[in-house]
Symmetry: C2
Subunit: 355 residues, 2 copies
Amino acid sequence: MNIRRWVRPEVLAMAGYQPGEQPDGARPLIKLNTNENPYDAPPAVLQALTEVDCSRLRLYPEPSSRPVREAAAAAYGLRPEQILVGNGSDDLLTILMRTFVAPGATVCVPEPTYSLYHSLCQLQGGHFVGIPWHDGWQLPLSALLAQQAALLILARPNAPSGHVVPLQQVAALCQQSPGIVVLDEAYVDFADDNGLALLHTEENLVIIRTFSKSMALAGLRIGLAFASPALIEQMHKVRDSYNVNRLSQLAAVAALGNLAAYQPSLQAIRQQRQRLSSALRQRGFQVPDSQANFVLATVPPGPRSGADWLATLRQEGILVRYFGSDPALRQQLRITIGTPEEMQQLLAAIDRLLA
Amino acid sequence: MNIRRWVRPEVLAMAGYQPGEQPDGARPLIKLNTNENPYDAPPAVLQALTEVDCSRLRLYPEPSSRPVREAAAAAYGLRPEQILVGNGSDDLLTILMRTFVAPGATVCVPEPTYSLYHSLCQLQGGHFVGIPWHDGWQLPLSALLAQQAALLILARPNAPSGHVVPLQQVAALCQQSPGIVVLDEAYVDFADDNGLALLHTEENLVIIRTFSKSMALAGLRIGLAFASPALIEQMHKVRDSYNVNRLSQLAAVAALGNLAAYQPSLQAIRQQRQRLSSALRQRGFQVPDSQANFVLATVPPGPRSGADWLATLRQEGILVRYFGSDPALRQQLRITIGTPEEMQQLLAAIDRLLA
């Protein structure tokens, strides 16, 4: 069977994005590999799901997720027509590519960053350009702008580094880019500030958010895009008609109505991030300051490579993330911030391995 | 703000697919416009949702919906690697376009049919060709094949007509088409037969199913694609990494394990379809034999146009679907089969309007 005559060459050529391992629960593992929240969503949010009227499940959901857009508008000081809801922020990234990237158009990012951007650009037949971060994770502003990209994507906080670019530089990117600038704020609830205010002045800016990290609802697939109504209107044409299911819409509204109830878990994660960063540095790891719910740790000099650390930690029952296919990340582990107990078990395992 | 410099011309040019009205429930309406099931899913299916472990919702779902693929394989006599799960069958149609349709490649369908095929082809930058059905909804086989399409889509039962093409003609399409043939079986559980057996012999065939009609789970967004493992493997690269959320995966597994419990509602819908078709014909409507959960009724000759019927039925509190932007469907209403009570109310309203 020769499938080459049927499948688009871009698809044939690609490996496909590889998400982090999702263990089946058969063996207890400490899961620090896909940046989920170690704490459940607040009771009021989960309660909303148990109160669902099952007789509504035979009906399609509200096509544009209007209740979610209204709740998000109230929560973030925007108007509903500035908001598009996605089946996770992956859906929104796909919509962005399909709305703004013509075949051969350039998508530009500072690298390393979330590798899905590259996969989605390939799928769309776009021209992908990754510009290396300057030393110390400084933004390569002029090199990014020189590409005159149709779509320029900046994750802030960045993955897998956790660092943040100053907001003035984001504004400069928007003002000097001829194309659309996407600010991926998947991890912004763990950071000190966010880019929402830029929406007032930057008409080529799209901000995306996810409910999979700070909101502890990765299992429900909810993302938000914020932009001018004119851009959102075009993106609506590209999304699937009923892209967000009824239960996820319900949970999203509940989460947006209970943002304050999330504060204790956000605070705990920030505190653990600080403690873990210090503890890792004491053990010889290099750890840049992170404003996300993970840290990027360069392993200590020694016989054990990054890949070795990944494997030996897994033997200890601890999953972390390793991006060794990127030469810039061969000696790094990305470690999700978990509960205090999980962090202690991680450090105990590291101490055993270093002994 | 001039968005033309940013948005792909294909997107700018299109109106976007318009789904049927989803009323907000403020006014009681008899909803016969989007082919939902009038009966709830069996108790065992809804029960599965109430038993969800909410502490898992903070975790991503199984990326490839493996439990659903295994349950579907058991239910339909396939292997899990022949199955891809979508966020509704709309997601699967999008994946099909993005996997198999290069810019400028031809997508061919007999028309009228589900208008989303056209919208998705436009989005992908494909070349769309609709070939009119021959009189009496006969398949224009040679004209379809003459297009040498990359993707040829046949809805069976067709929407909005409800008729079915003989399976031998589907096999002929597959055998003589140089491209992929998609058999959209969204409504097949209401029909007398299906195309599953063709998967054994036709390597360019993709069958898609939805849980939004017969399975009464439109609110949860679940679809299935069946094809050879080689084609499914390529389609996996194109779907979003976590395209089906945890709760929908759970409900899908429960539904697939309870197919027999759906039989009474399927039987009731078939019976009501027969009764409504006869009753409408007695009142001067033309109604082709339908094997779906809807009928396409040509309104009786008289002063009242199809658009008038739509509007007056709405005044009577009854929503039906009207596709008047298609010249071939100006005098037709597509009416979803509801409960016996809903059908009686519809006929009573029609009698009032004809009196």
